[in-house]
Symmetry: C2
Subunit: 208 residues, 2 copies
């Protein structure tokens, strides 16, 4: 067990609380008490709560985005004909890799992403699109390549439907897997959940 510095302790506590309770319902005092650091250290190291939120998400995006860029570009290098299922499959590896990067990292990342899209009047959405707009365009292009019959607008909507499906599922994944266990005696981990999601959203995006 290595000794963590203050900045990291804050980030670790903040990401967990943000994912669980949302940004507005998580106070800096709750974060600092869980991180066992002084209250003022948040403003010292990050400037403001808003910048802390961005830093929490940035730590995941810095791992996830390059990983996704790689799987997308390797898909493109294999030719220009691929299915929607293959495009979404590009997401699986980078997403699951977050679980080795951090405990429950995949769930955490998707929950944070969802909260960022719903809460905070769009300032987090702005942060993501301005810092990681390239991969969003590349992914969007791949989806268009796989679905030449769909317009840009239609793809925009269906990708956001997809985001909703994934984010909501992850946000309530604990409750859902508990129900599946008690009602169907089904043991479902995060990897099963993603593999169950892919056919659903692939069919949805490629719908006529």
């Amino acid at each position: 067990m290595q000794k963590l510095d203050t900045k990291t302790k804050i980030l670790n506590a903040a990401e967990q609380l943000f994912a669980e309770r949302g940004f507005a319902d998580t106070s800096l005092r709750l974060i600092t008490s869980q991180a066992e650091v002084n209250l003022a250290s948040v403003n010292y190291h990050f400037g403001s709560k808003k910048e802390l939120i961005q830093a929490v998400l940035a730590r995941y995006l810095e791992v996830f985005v390059p990983s996704l860029e790689q799987t997308i570009s390797s898909l493109n290098s294999q030719g220009d004909r691929y299915t929607q299922h293959q495009v979404f499959s590009c997401l699986i590896e980078p997403l699951l890799a977050l679980n080795t990067f951090r405990h429950r990292g995949t769930t955490m990342f998707l929950q944070l992403l969802g909260r960022g899209y719903i809460e905070s009047q769009g300032h987090l959405r702005w942060f993501i699109t301005t810092h990681y707009g390239d991969i969003m365009v590349a992914f969007n292009d791949a989806v268009r390549q796989a679905n030449p019959h769909l317009s840009k607008a239609e793809i925009f909507w269906r990708l956001h439907f997809t985001l909703g499906t994934v984010v909501f599922t992850m946000a309530s994944s604990n409750a859902l897997t508990d129900i599946a266990k008690s009602d169907f005696n089904q043991d479902v981990d995060i990897e099963d959940l993603i593999r169950r999601l892919i056919p659903f959203i692939s069919a949805g995006v490629s719908a006529p």
Copy 2:
């Protein structure tokens, strides 16, 4: 223009602000100033902010749930063989009927529902399932009836995927329609959104 009583003025202002900004980001002072009533009247008429939130949603559920119960039971009375599309149609009519009940009622209700499922640590979720659990079971039975080839577990997962798609989309519908307007010069109202959602979730549920 009839003169509204304080209770109704509060509910009208609250539902609009809750749908737009979420529960945590909407203060009682913002609600009462928009409703042009005294601050203390919220606690006088509703007891607390939490109970106000429940009252806002209950006003919609009291209209929506009986309407849905009717379409579902009329579907069942027509025989025991119906398609999944028919089951979804049972949902559409009661939803759009909320638009005659109140201006932008459909959008408002679905946004509130979405926020209720994501925010507020599940106390609103509890309120809904304990007060309106019967119709949720009836709807689930109808879906099972329409999909005899799918296992209970499969239906369980895909219905929750569907719920996530709708709820997330509605919770962020303001931001999404803004983007669609600026990026594609597309004016999208709630009815358009629902019509775009149906093919997506239908294909998802019917996925191989």
